[in-house]
Symmetry: C2
Amino acid sequence: MKILLLAGDGIGPEIMAEAERVLAALDLPVTLDRALVGGAAYEATGHPLPPETLAKAKAADAILFGAVGDPRFDAVERHLRPEQAILGLRSELGLFANLRPAKLFPGLEDSSALRPEVAAAIDLLIVRELNGDVYFGEKGLRTTANGEREGYDVMSYSESEVRRIAHVAFRAAQGRQGRLCSVDKANVLETSQLWRDVVIEVAKDYPGVELSHMYVDNAAMQLVRNPGQFDVVVTGNLFGDILSDQASMCVGSIGLLASASLGEGTKGLYEPIHGSAPDIAGQGVANPLAMILSLAMLLRHSGGDEASAARIEAAVARVLADGCRGADLGGTMGTAALGDAVVAALRN
Amino acid sequence: MKILLLAGDGIGPEIMAEAERVLAALDLPVTLDRALVGGAAYEATGHPLPPETLAKAKAADAILFGAVGDPRFDAVERHLRPEQAILGLRSELGLFANLRPAKLFPGLEDSSALRPEVAAAIDLLIVRELNGDVYFGEKGLRTTANGEREGYDVMSYSESEVRRIAHVAFRAAQGRQGRLCSVDKANVLETSQLWRDVVIEVAKDYPGVELSHMYVDNAAMQLVRNPGQFDVVVTGNLFGDILSDQASMCVGSIGLLASASLGEGTKGLYEPIHGSAPDIAGQGVANPLAMILSLAMLLRHSGGDEASAARIEAAVARVLADGCRGADLGGTMGTAALGDAVVAALRN
Ligand SMILES: CC(C)[C@H](C(=O)O)[C@@H](O)C(=O)O
Ligand SMILES: CC(C)[C@H](C(=O)O)[C@@H](O)C(=O)O
């Protein structure tokens, strides 16, 4: 398996280094390659997703991605900002299905902002569409009839876009508790109405899955009130962005949540759901666990190596159960110390 | 003062009845009028916002609004659904500023899904723009080049739309702790980029207010992690819809949160932020407190009667401190019993 490592900006390189140590400790037959991405690539080449990086990504079997983004580039034109690198990879590689599992690790009951009994019940999977919605529609600045500036972005979904993500979500629900909640804003948005209609059509192929629908405002509320009610949640790109970050905090720290971005085949891009955290970059205090758990997802989905994925996940769970905590969880362990602990747990 | 009562659908009429009793107990010189709205109006007249209702709303000094929406009308064409009534009132009356305060009532520390110490720190005001965004842009179903159905909705904000809501938010922050957080998704959306640029321009008029910016995904996370960090939050229509519902659960129940929708003058529409809850309608179990607190906001903003507003709020706080709880807060008191308790507290 050819894995491309894209560390990116901010804390990306620090947490990537720990994932690499974990990978090395597993001693698997993989080939590693590296490339520049995000602000780092923009500084070196003038583009956040240089052609060499995209070519390597296309050639790889799987991509392990750190994070991109840096306020130093806020004034740069939109199409050259660091974030365009991850948006470009998702669309160029056709990675339309973003899987974001959220589950409370034993030992972290008191780390969530939620009451322990509410947090303990969390075990959900958010399936976020990643190639459409208001992210990729026509957008720009235009002038209104009375001469004002107006920013605009077109939100849209076509039938086939909804259908393929719905199939991913229904199949995921089949492999879990068999419950799928589709989140939209069909009482206001035509995009959501089509979304809902198509999800209902696709449901006919999955009689064993119980389908429900929820408006996004209600879903944001229910994710606080009683997140344990959800099994699989499927939603569009924008709502998925918001709800999955929100869910992350319910499990204690955004530094614990991994994600997989998949297309039609086994190729995928794997990244923590947190960002580049420029405020703490370079200090060796970032939590590498979401990055390490992203590696586990990579080995499972793109490598077909369930055993190694489960080993990594068990090692991370052990480390947390043993009380290892970084600053994000109120502890004092740094990035490397947490990486050490995972490697040690793997060896036991 | 001429107040128009629009009870609407679902639990609307039940909770409106309790607000009316509270208003009667205050014995204020107001004129009351009533009209049909939402699904109830659609059934009677064929339109969710009949011309008579709109005319009465235009003539009134303030509107007390229950809730609209009923799944029985899900198959009706969008422009005739119950929700169009509230959207129509907001836009026809130019009510562009929606104020949604969220604060934990003493005694409810253990009712929030958040840990008590996290919940106790909540005291924030969400200022949501209400006349623009993807709610009111061009929308519809179209056919793609390859013959598929595609739903679309155009998101947009013009300079003047952002400027007027920004002024409302900065002024609100001046009257509170002097901190304003503007929430957007400027790393992806052009609409958000213009929003951010204009908010920064307006900030020059308010040197005493500390302005920060947050991406909406991060804001959804921070509202769970540490909601006490926020004073005033200003955001667009869609993000405001999601974040304010989310914030409501942090304070224990969506049945406690009131809102004011204001334009340039003193006229306003006041409504609970919860919906019509068709699942519990007609059972006499809905929590009327958000509706009663909406009446308090009406008396304050449109009536200029701070004393009566404060009396109502103190009565509600007393009732909650005394342990009165409806089903939404794990108690057994029904709608009328809670209304009785507020009226009794007002008389003391
Ligand atoms: C960096 C940004 C463009 C991205 C997104 O909004 O998709 C991030 O928030 C994420 O969720 O992966
Ligand atoms: C009923 C619906 C159209 C409305 C909205 O989305 O604005 C509601 O959720 C609200 O927040 O007042």
